[in-house]
């Protein structure tokens, strides 16, 4: 059983211990200990190549770490049926937008009626309704990213990993997506881990912010503290200047 809790809550949180990943002599990830709160939104920020996507890929079980453990609710297995992820380079099944959004529901044997209603609601929320019948070839990148998000939200995952989900999405839609994520957190208690380069977005969404640099956690703390009075000088430098809203 893991020892170091940084939080008073104890539930289905994600606990990372001594996670290490290297390519040859180049260590791209080396996390001593990190806890992602249950039912909260954690934003991971950091410069390009910091290892953010690597971390998410390992957590989602898409990549093996060289060393270290990840516990979810005390167990070493993350139930992949209850987890989902939106890739940094989103990727759709070559079919229609509708079939993409419905796919995780079909896999889970939802009824046709249920599928239809969920797909309709999500599409409406994300402004995809007019695209439902369209094949994925030829969608704009923003439309692709929205479809991938809708697909991830179609069933109700306990754990949601998002790798820069709004990178190609227009500002208004971004705000709407943030609303949806906050609602998920509030209503379903979904645990969300989101990578973003948009510090303002991290500020709007996150309960906890993690700054990753060169594979190491520089600072991981509550959002309020992270942006206003972080412990580390490096954090201040990263969030400082004209970048913070």
């Amino acid at each position: 059983m893991p020892a170091a809790y940084e939080t008073e809550r104890y539930g289905m949180e994600l606990q990372i211990q001594n996670l290490r990943k290297s390519y040859g002599t180049h260590t791209v990830l080396d996390i001593g200990s990190l806890t992602v709160h249950d039912g909260g939104i954690t934003a991971v920020v950091g410069p390009n190549g910091a290892g953010k996507s690597t971390l998410l890929n390992i957590l989602a079980g898409l990549m093996k770490s060289d060393d270290g453990e990840v516990y979810y609710g005390g167990s070493r297995e993350i139930p992949f049926q209850k987890m989902t992820m939106v890739f940094q380079e989103p990727c759709l099944i070559s079919s229609t937008v509708e079939k993409n959004i419905a796919y995780p529901l079909k896999l889970r044997k939802y009824s046709g009626k249920e599928i239809h209603s969920r797909v309709g609601t999500l599409a409406a929320e994300l402004g995809l309704t007019h695209l439902l019948g369209r094949r994925t070839e030829g969608l704009s990148l923003g439309e692709v990213q929205k479809t991938a998000l809708a697909r991830a939200l179609s069933f109700e995952p306990e754990l949601l990993f998002l790798d820069e989900p709004c990178a190609s999405i227009d500002p208004h839609a971004t705000l709407e997506i943030e609303e949806m994520l906050l609602k998920r957190k509030r209503e379903k208690g979904t645990t969300i881990l989101i990578i973003t380069h948009d510090l303002a977005q991290a500020g709007r969404l996150a309960d906890q912010v993690v700054l990753l640099k060169e594979g190491k956690v520089v600072e991981a703390c509550g959002a309020e503290k992270f942006f206003s009075h972080p412990d580390k000088e490096e954090t201040r430098k990263f969030t400082g200047g004209e970048l913070l809203v």
Binding site: A60, G61, L62, F80, Q81, K82, M83, T84, M85, F87, E89, P90, C91, L92, I93, S94, Y103, P104, L107, R108, R135, T136, E137, G138, L139, S140, L141, E143, V144, Q145, T147, A148, R151, A152, F155, F161
Partner: protein, 241 residues
């Protein structure tokens, strides 16, 4: 050229007169090549996907061996199977030489490496991405395999078509283990070969044309399975797997 024109005419005459001998031969050819294709496909596609998706020692060597077996001369393959099935050989009691079963065995052996090799090539770039996608969406093993097959259908159908082409067209192997026995193991290719030896060029060309027509029909059906949405649309294929 006259011979070829006459061959074409003869081909249509044979088709429309429902020549029984020709029909029998065509039927056997199709039975042998489709059955071997089925077996080789059911084994070779998963094998190819597996190889493409795993890293292991000797993988490159294995690939080169598979490529080499893609170029296994049918005559040699036929001969080896023939030797293995010889009556006094280890499997002799099965009495398989000069039977349709032996022909299917030998063609399966010929087609299998082709399908496996081309599947590896088709799966190489994409299967990792598809697998990861399937996993994040909660697909189990079977569902993942379904998604893989669906997303790679172009490459796979090309592999299957290439395998079928090899099977339906080759003569060396089926001739040896089948023996071109009239009414029993005579396929279109062994028949063409025999007719050629008998100097009956027109009829040989005619049977050849029938073979091509059948091949075309099978390919059309297989292509239809791809459900090609047409061209790659506009500037790239955003979010494609």
């Amino acid at each position: 050229m006259k011979i070829i024109m006459e061959g074409v005419a003869e081909a249509f005459r044979l088709i429309f007169s429902l020549d029984e001998e020709v029909f029998e031969v065509v039927g056997l050819s199709l039975r042998v090549s489709l059955l071997s294709l089925l077996i080789a496909g059911v084994l070779g596609i998963p094998a190819g996907i597996f190889i493409a998706g795993h890293r292991f020692r000797g993988k490159r060597l294995l690939m080169r061996l598979i490529y080499t077996l893609m170029g296994m001369p049918p005559v040699l393959c036929g001969l080896l199977v023939y030797i293995a099935l010889m009556r006094r050989g280890p499997l002799g009691s099965l009495r398989l030489n000069y039977t349709v079963t032996a022909m299917i065995i030998v063609q399966t052996l010929l087609i299998f490496p082709i399908i496996t090799g081309l599947t590896v090539s088709a799966a190489r770039d994409r299967q990792g991405k598809i697998r990861r996608l399937a996993r994040t969406l909660g697909a189990d093993r079977r569902q993942t395999m379904q998604l893989l097959l669906f997303e790679m259908r172009f490459g796979l159908i090309t592999a299957v078509i290439t395998g079928f082409s090899r099977g339906i067209s080759e003569v060396g192997a089926v001739m040896i283990v089948g023996g071109n026995i009239d009414g029993k193991t005579r396929t279109m290719t062994t028949y063409i070969s025999q007719l050629k030896g008998m100097g009956e060029f027109e009829r040989a060309v005619a049977v050849g044309i029938i073979l091509l027509i059948i091949s075309f029909t099978v390919n059309t059906i297989l292509c239809y399975l791809q459900k090609d949405p047409g061209e790659e649309l506009r500037g790239g294929h955003a979010g494609g797997i």
